[in-house]
């Protein structure tokens, strides 16, 4: 018999129960549309406000989160989300501006967007920035569209190959697949760099460009980055930077200075926009001079220059060869840009550099503490994260077991099984907002778990033991495919 820990909102419903009520109609009433245009039933829950509060309060307790503890999920940059951001993004002037208002009435928003574009250009060394993409993956897609448009406009239409390292995020090849291009996988060398020989062999006149995450998903800054970029540029290709790991580079190096042509930012990783249980993200894209004219439309620009007594008028502009619109309206303004703007304004240039330095220090500190216990296949000074193997000689324990056991100690596990080039990968990104005591406790626990793996492997294989929920049957979920707790026949029964 299946035990229900918390009923669904549909199961909590009682016919006739009222929640929040709306005002009475204050205009003379008109007849509704003819019956054939009306829905016959509205099968939605009926609850009191207190039922709703208790339900979502209960659900919230089932979640691990950054406010509750350490969340070293590699590649996700789970840093602390400052509370002030939650206030600034909810200022009525931001909350209640309609995207189609005349620009004269939204200059506050437009100044913020314009400055955000300028700041991101300065941080990254790029010539232009669009704030429109909704998330990192959409930023990538915009970037690849621009690379394609650049070659096409030059009549260089035989370029169909995108070079992607074997350590890349899946979004890189998927973005390329959405455009019908071919992916050529480039191996990594034994120090975690792009294998230069393999890269050189792949560079020819059919290359669109290369998509490189740097630091890569092993947490390694490519030691030959300038040669890598020179090889790609040498064959006429463009260099895409996956900005997922930008947290390690703030004030350290600007991707544009290194020669990257295009890069997306993840404002929800680097600039503290909360992850929200999966989104919304925010994925602006920066480009070098070659791609400025191809940026998605619209951008924010100065549409009337300032005079002695009148400030400039900010408005929307469309680049000459724009690839078009990525989404409706102007980007994730309120929940994304306002929070990130607040964060950058409060850090300034030195504060941003501190972020990168302490993120890198924390990762290296954990790596040093765990080096003698876990095998670290690419062992050198890392950037903001590192990857170790979650397996031991002669033990049945796998990375997943270690992850699940960490939950018993009230830690969120690292990223599992990524990057694909490390066996039983555990990818650890502590971020700059964790203190030494937390890092020490985490390292101590991982060392203890390694011992348990030898002495009591079943403790790991059965983990988590001390959480509210145990391991899930993922096969049942995929085979039975119950995706909805509402079915028309359920409502027949309620009547």
């Amino acid at each position: 018999m299946t035990k229900i820990v918390e009923p669904t909102i549909f199961e909590l419903s009682t016919p006739g129960r009222r929640g929040v009520t709306m005002p009475a109609v204050d205009v003379p009433e008109t007849a509704l549309p003819p019956k054939e245009f009306l829905r016959s039933e509205l099968p939605l829950p009926e609850l009191a406000e207190v039922d709703v509060v208790r339900h979502y309060m209960q659900l919230s307790k089932f979640n691990y989160n950054v406010d509750a503890g350490f969340y070293p999920l590699g590649s996700c940059t789970m840093k602390y989300n400052p509370k002030i951001n939650e206030d600034t993004c909810r200022l009525p002037g931001f909350l209640f501006t309609h995207p189609l208002q005349p620009i004269e009435t939204t200059q506050g928003n437009l100044v913020l967007m314009y400055e955000m574009q300028e700041w991101l250009k300065e941080i990254s060394g790029f010539a232009g920035v669009t704030l429109q993409p909704a998330a990192g993956a959409q930023g990538e897609f915009a970037g690849v569209l621009m690379m394609r448009a650049y070659h096409n406009l030059r009549g260089d239409d035989k370029r169909i190959k995108m070079l992607i390292p074997d350590a890349a995020h899946g979004t890189n090849p998927a973005s390329v697949g959405m455009l019908g291009m071919t992916v050529v996988t480039i191996p990594s060398d034994d120090r975690g760099n792009v294998d230069l020989k393999a890269l050189e062999a792949a560079c020819d006149e059919t290359v669109v460009g290369m998509m490189l995450t740097n630091p890569n998903t092993l947490g390694m800054f490519d030691e030959h980055i300038e040669q890598v970029i020179a090889l790609v540029h040498g064959c006429g290709g463009l260099m895409y930077g996956d900005g997922a790991n930008l947290n390690a580079l703030l004030g350290i190096v600007r991707p544009g200075d290194l020669g990257f042509d295009v890069m997306h930012f993840n404002l929800h990783k680097t600039f503290s926009v909360p992850h929200g249980g999966g989104g919304p993200g925010c994925g602006p894209v920066g480009v070098g001079p070659k791609l400025v004219d191809f940026l998605p439309s619209p951008l924010v620009g100065i549409v009337e220059a300032e005079t002695d007594d009148v400030p400039p008028l900010y408005g929307f502009v469309t680049p000459k060869q724009s690839i078009g619109r990525m989404k409706a309206f102007h980007g994730h303004f309120g929940g994304g840009l306002v929070r990130a703007y607040t964060y950058i304004a409060m850090h300034g240039p030195d504060g941003l550099k501190d972020i990168a330095q302490y993120a890198v220090l924390n990762a290296n500190y954990l790596q040093a503490r765990l080096r003698d216990t876990y095998h670290i296949p690419f062992d050198r000074i890392c950037m903001h994260e590192f990857v170790m193997e979650g397996q031991f000689e002669g033990s049945p324990i796998r990375a997943l077991d270690i992850s699940k056991r960490l939950m018993d100690f009230n830690f969120h596990p690292p990223t599992n099984y990524f990057p694909l080039i490390v066996h039983e990968a555990l990818m650890i990104e502590p971020t700059e907002t964790e203190n030494k005591a937390t890092l020490d406790r985490f390292a101590d626990v991982l060392i203890q778990i390694a011992e348990e793996a030898k002495t009591q492997p079943e403790l790991l294989q059965n983990a988590p033991n001390d959480t509210l929920f145990g391991r899930m049957d993922e096969v049942k979920a995929a085979r039975e495919l119950v995706l909805c707790c509402w079915l028309p026949e359920d409502y027949e029964k309620l009547k």
Binding site: V5, T8, G19, V20, D26, V27, P28, P33, F37, R39, L42, L44, P45, E49, Y64, N65, D67, A68, I84, G93, H98, P99, Q101, T105, V111, A137, F141, G170, T171, A174, I225, G251, V253, H275, G277, G278, P280, C282, G324, A328, F329, F333, G335, A345, P349, Q357, L361, N362, N364, E434, K436, F469, R471, M472, E480, L481, V482, L483, C484, C485
Partner: protein
């Protein structure tokens, strides 16, 4: 301001463990000539200064809650959000969690998304919903991706109704430019025609027909016959629907649509100058393997408890890589939660009230405006809470006049439709009082 907790003493101890002398020594792999650039950014602000700065920027806008009366819609709608929604959203347990990769400690997010899927299915009359998309426009673009994958690229034509939101059509074109997809049907000359004008365009090469409900001009049609025609040619049909209208009107699911997508911003998500919003995507169970985005399914845990996991993940980019039909990895989790709480807090009764208020007020406004000399409700078809108003002057001039009266008039349709230069798209919601509507009417009497 800094959020870094490390003391200088702790820093030195950590550097010693790592085996380097200074923080700068950690960056030897970076080419020296580009290392440690001076960033030309404003100096750091304290929290108090930042709050003041942002406060000034926000208050320099004119907003539709405190400063102006607004009849703007056209894809984003001003509705009332019950207080309880934001109280729940502000719980760090929800907003500081990541994508629920570890289901044992993410059941809150997972069950909330599962319920969102169910609420959207119930609303649209469809069998399955995913965990959401970036917005209504990208959800529509993902419908094209689904259809492309379903026909494995063998059909390449998309028939777009000219009465689909112009921004949605732009996004569909952006997304499909690499796949050789042919988007037809929305040529400017067609803008006045009803949906039956699309029928001759639907043939055996058509993979998808995209419609909007109510359409961009506010009109309500029963698309059942059109959908049957498309199905007879083997094509799929996607309907982009307004969720508030679906509280009252026959669902596109009941009309036979294969996909019902749309913008859920009206359900508890602030206008926020255009984003982030919440795309919903619902379809039939038979297309679930081709659907993009996260999907939560029910299962049990090792202790026999009902629980939820991300499922069918092998469809997605992190496993399928270049063979995935979409690169999407986020959903709009927090906003899906806002939408679910909005729907739950108002409940069936409150939501029906919202729909009725929108309908009644819009019809009152239309009837009063229709009485004005030189003004006319342009289409004869039924509408819900948005309608096209024909004006005696270019819409841009009318809007300028209304702005002087503290009113955002409506969307200037001439921006997208050459034949509708004198036409405003007026949206009326429960936020517009009778006084607001009368103010609009009075202001237009001066024209």
């Amino acid at each position: 301001m800094t959020y870094i907790p490390t003391s200088p003493h702790e820093r030195d101890a950590m550097l010693k463990t790592v085996g380097v002398k200074t923080l700068d020594d950690l960056f030897d792999a970076i080419p020296q000539k580009h290392r440690f650039p001076n960033l030309n950014l404003p100096p750091a602000l304290s929290e108090m200064e930042a709050a003041d700065l942002l406060g000034e920027m926000a208050s320099s806008n004119e907003n539709v809650r405190e400063d102006m009366v607004s009849f703007l819609g056209a894809g984003a709608y001003h509705h009332y959000t019950p207080s309880v929604v934001d109280h729940m959203l502000r719980r760090g347990e929800f907003y500081t969690a990541y994508t629920p990769y570890q289901p044992e400690i993410s059941q809150g997010t997972l069950q909330a998304i599962f319920e969102f899927q169910a609420l959207m299915s119930a609303l649209t009359g469809m069998e399955v919903s995913n965990a959401s998309h970036y917005d209504g426009a990208t959800a529509a673009a993902e419908a094209v991706n689904l259809a492309y994958a379903q026909f494995r690229g063998k059909r390449k034509k998309v028939v777009l109704s000219p009465a689909v939101n112009p921004q949605y059509r732009e996004v569909i074109r952006t997304y499909s430019q690499g796949l050789g997809v042919e988007n037809v049907g929305d040529e400017a000359t067609n803008s006045e025609l009803g949906p039956e004008a699309l029928i001759p365009l639907i043939d055996e090469s058509t993979m998808l027909v995209v419609l909007q409900f109510p359409d961009f001009f506010g009109r309500i049609y029963d698309y059942t016959k059109l959908i049957e025609t498309a199905h007879a040619q083997g094509a799929l049909v996607c309907v982009a629907a307004n969720p508030t209208a679906l509280l009252m009107l026959k669902t596109p699911g009941a009309m036979g649509a294969d996909m019902v997508v749309g913008e859920a911003q009206p359900f508890g998500i602030p206008l926020w100058y255009g984003g982030p919003y919440l795309g919903f995507f619902t379809t039939k169970k038979s297309y679930v393997h081709k659907m993009a985005g996260r999907l939560v399914g029910e299962t049990i845990d090792s202790r026999g408890q009902r629980s939820y996991v991300l499922t069918l993940t092998a469809r997605e980019q992190h496993i399928k890589r270049e063979r995935a039909s979409s690169n999407i990895c986020t959903n709009q989790g927090l906003l899906a939660l806002a939408c679910s709480i909005y729907m739950s807090a108002l409940g069936k009764n409150g939501l029906q009230q919202v729909a009725n208020l929108c309908y009644q007020k819009a019809h009152y406004a239309a009837s009063e405006l229709n009485k004005l000399k030189g003004f006319k409700v342009h289409f004869k078809e039924a509408f819900f809470h948005e309608f096209t108003l024909e004006c005696p002057q270019p819409a841009s001039e009318i809007n300028q006049h209304l702005l002087e009266h503290g009113i955002f008039g409506g969307y200037d349709l001439g921006q997208n439709y050459a034949t509708l230069k004198n036409h405003l798209l007026i949206a009326v919601t429960e936020m517009n009082s009778k006084e607001d509507i009368d103010l609009l009417v009075e202001a237009l009497k001066e024209i």
